[in-house]
């Protein structure tokens, strides 16, 4: 265990003593998003201010006049959460400098989906990262636009069925590969970037804490789960995501000041077909072993490159 490992008991205590995100919201049974939100918010020890992009999380937690948020929360639109957060963060700094704000400094946390981050919000995210705002940007990646009824995003993997990439005689789901957003974010050379998953809560919590401590922008790309969009039983959300991690489809790593480090290594990698197999959105691939083979080859290749990068960075710091 790392020295800065987060104990689950501490997260649970904080949740009980001062819950930041409350129940009674309308997210689906088995949805992975509350796991992301609770873990991140409970791991961060400072006060927080949350900026949320349009998407399932926003819609399901703030139906007027109700709210599931017990921390300051702001939603403006779909594509601009990073820009809104830039304004909040700048205001915080200026007001403090001008003597109009006192008390412990809050962490500005952004929650946005893959659509709001990989696609329509990418420009605003890139701008905020380049400007160096002190933010913890959390992308909850469920691999499609779920709130609007499961349309493809650039995070949707090749072959996945969505309502805009259906399966038929002339189409086998999404034709393109998913975008490697974590690499794009890393290219901004911000202090902290990580990939995490709802199956590895302690890992996610530790990353959230390191993200909040970073002196500048921090980005967490967290694989969530969407039983509705993926076509998985609601009880299997954590299991599905665990298979994504254990198949190395979604490696868990962090990039601290440009250096890559694996934070979890599956003892034995399971075949990608196990991750894909349990999901309705990939069912048609059973008849297309060549697509599964291509996906496996892609995952293997990406894993090799990641391992090489980690080895190079280890050698550099040794």
């Amino acid at each position: 265990m790392n020295a800065d490992a987060v104990r689950l008991r501490d997260l649970a205590r904080r949740e009980e003593a001062a819950p930041r995100f409350l129940g009674g919201h309308a997210l689906c049974a088995g949805c992975g998003i509350p796991v992301v939100v609770r873990t991140v918010l409970n791991a961060i020890e400072t006060p927080v201010v949350v900026v949320n992009a349009t998407g399932c999380l926003e819609v399901a937690t703030t139906r007027y006049p109700g709210t599931a948020w017990n921390v300051p929360w702001l939603h403006v639109a779909f594509e601009n959460a990073a820009a809104v957060a830039s304004g909040v963060e700048t205001a915080e700094r200026v007001l403090r400098r001008r003597g109009r704000l006192a008390g412990e400094r809050p962490t500005v946390v952004v929650f946005a989906g893959d659509g709001g981050t990989y696609d329509i919000g990418l420009q605003a995210l890139s701008g905020a990262l380049e400007r160096g705002h002190r933010l913890v940007y959390v992308c909850y990646d469920n691999e499609a636009y779920m709130n609007t009824g499961i349309q493809r995003s650039s995070a949707t993997p090749a072959g996945a069925r969505t309502t805009t990439t259906p399966v038929g005689p002339d189409a086998l789901g999404k034709a393109q590969r998913r975008k490697d957003l974590t690499a794009i974010v890393a290219a901004h050379r911000i202090p902290y970037v990580a990939q995490a998953a709802i199956s590895h809560v302690q890992d996610l919590a530790a990353k959230a804490r390191r993200a909040a401590a970073a002196d500048g922008p921090a980005f967490l790309n967290v694989l969530s789960a969407c039983p509705l969009g993926w076509g998985t039983p609601t009880r299997d959300s954590i299991l599905s995501v665990r298979l994504a991690v254990d198949s190395r489809y979604w490696p868990l790593f962090e990039i601290v000041d440009g250096r890559y480090r694996l934070t979890y290594e599956p003892a034995r990698a399971v075949p990608v077909s196990e991750w894909v197999g349990g999901q309705e959105r990939f069912r048609h691939l059973a008849a297309h072993p060549e697509m599964l083979a291509a996906l496996q080859a892609e995952v293997d290749d990406a894993w090799r490159r990641l391992r090489d990068q980690v080895a190079r960075d280890d050698a550099r710091s040794a």
């Binding site: 006060p47 929360w73 403006v76 909040v88 205001a91």
Partner: protein, 409 residues
């Protein structure tokens, strides 16, 4: 237009304050004048993105910052969409926030401007009014402002650089007022005002700051001890009420502007009232205009009055909320009203005309004139042509003044 500058200097001189004191009169462009107001206001956060003809405003403000005359921060965002987004975040966080834009930039902001109004974020936006593309064009008209017409923002239009300064200084007091709390667009016609220098009277810094007062945000997002949810999702059971409440706040801005203008008049001796009645005593045929064209129109009205014609001008500074009752009252004696628009509403009536015609329905005949699109001059010839047509036959269609006079056809 040269006549605008001469006129405004003369007007400012004639209006020299009885009790108010004028600290300095400096040769400034409209853009510089707006930046001077921003310097005196010294806002906390200024997200910016360049676009002609607004850019000199943010360039001047950047120099004020670099040279230590202001003490907030600029956020050099990657687009106007993000400028308005950052502005909303900053204003709701509890910081006084200003920005500037024009044309495509304002168009790009519009999605978020609606949200700024709905979230009741009092952001002051200096606008160098410029034609919307396409075709792309960098010169003045009001098509950008009209795209934002229904956003819920306050809209003010300056006649000259002096007003660009005056309106910018008054805008925070209006839009931050607890009864209002809405964004405000402070327009100055691109190039005609933004890039034309004229003598501008400035208040003393301390006076200006005392007039504007401190920024207050009762429901600041950064108040972590009082967590509030801003920007909730409103279903059909709530949306309607929220929108009507927001619209009423904009309507209240008319009264608050009257108070603001009265206070400003006491301080500066200058009038920034919602509308300006120019030689309306005994006027039968009246032109209604906004922006720099009103300066030219004043010269023409003077000329025609000298010839014994019963003409007058009603200049509109406050376009949103539209001062309906005041306009109807001031035009109660008019026999014909001509409205000059610098924007189109293709397939419908031009925006200012539609507004005035609805205000005066059944009271007097209102005719539509369009001029100055894409920076085409609105000179004395156009205004003369307007008055010549006003009250005559026709009037079922907009008359395009200066069309075909660009040297190209």
């Amino acid at each position: 237009m040269a006549s605008d500058g001469a006129r405004s200097a003369a007007v400012a001189g004639a209006d020299a304050p009885a009790e108010g004191r004028v600290a300095a009169r400096r040769l400034l462009t409209g853009a510089q004048a707006a930046a001077e107001a921003m310097r005196q206001i010294d806002p906390d956060v200024v997200p910016v993105y360049p676009i002609t003809p607004q850019t000199p405003i943010i360039e001047a403000f950047a120099r004020h910052l670099a040279e230590g005359r202001v003490h907030g921060e600029m956020v050099h965002v990657e687009s106007e969409h993000s400028a308005m987004s950052a502005a909303v975040g900053s204003a709701l966080a509890g910081a006084r926030t200003m920005t500037a834009t024009a044309s495509q930039g304002l168009a790009y902001m519009v999605e978020v401007l609606y949200l700024a109004a709905s979230l009741r974020a009092p952001i002051v936006v200096a606008v160098g009014n410029r034609a919307l593309s396409g075709p792309i064009n960098i010169h003045g008209d009001h098509s950008d402002a009209m795209l934002a017409r229904d956003s819920g923002a306050v809209q003010l239009f300056a006649e000259n650089a002096q007003e660009a300064y005056d309106l910018m200084l008054c805008a925070p007091r209006l839009c931050e007022h607890p009864e209002v709390r809405l964004p405000a667009l402070v327009g100055q016609d691109g190039f005609t005002i933004s890039h034309s220098a004229e003598p501008v009277a400035l208040l003393e810094d301390a006076e200006a700051q005392a007039f504007v007062g401190p920024y207050r945000e009762e429901d600041a997002l950064l108040d972590v001890d009082r967590p509030l949810t801003h920007g909730a999702f409103a279903m059909p059971d709530a949306y309607f009420e929220i929108k009507v409440e927001q619209a009423k706040a904009l309507e209240r801005a008319e009264g608050v502007w009257a108070e603001t203008a009265a206070a400003y008049r006491r301080l500066s001796g200058r009038d920034v009232a919602a509308v300006e009645a120019y030689r309306l005593e005994g006027a039968g045929r009246v032109l209604v205009a906004m922006g720099s064209a009103a300066g030219t129109a004043k010269d023409v009205v003077d000329e025609l009055r000298a010839r014994g014609e019963d003409v007058g001008l009603l200049k509109i500074r406050l376009f949103r909320p539209f001062p309906r009752a005041r306009i109807a009252a001031l035009l109660s004696g008019a026999t014909a009203v001509g409205v000059l628009d610098r924007a189109l509403s293709p397939g419908g009536w031009p925006p200012l005309y539609a507004e005035v015609a609805a205000t005066l329905a059944g009271q007097v005949r209102v005719q539509s004139f369009v001029a100055g699109l894409g920076g085409r001059d609105v000179g004395p010839e156009e205004i003369h042509a307007l008055f010549a047509a006003l009250g005559g036959a026709g009037g079922q269609e907009s008359v395009y003044l200066g069309l075909g006079r660009g040297g190209w056809r």
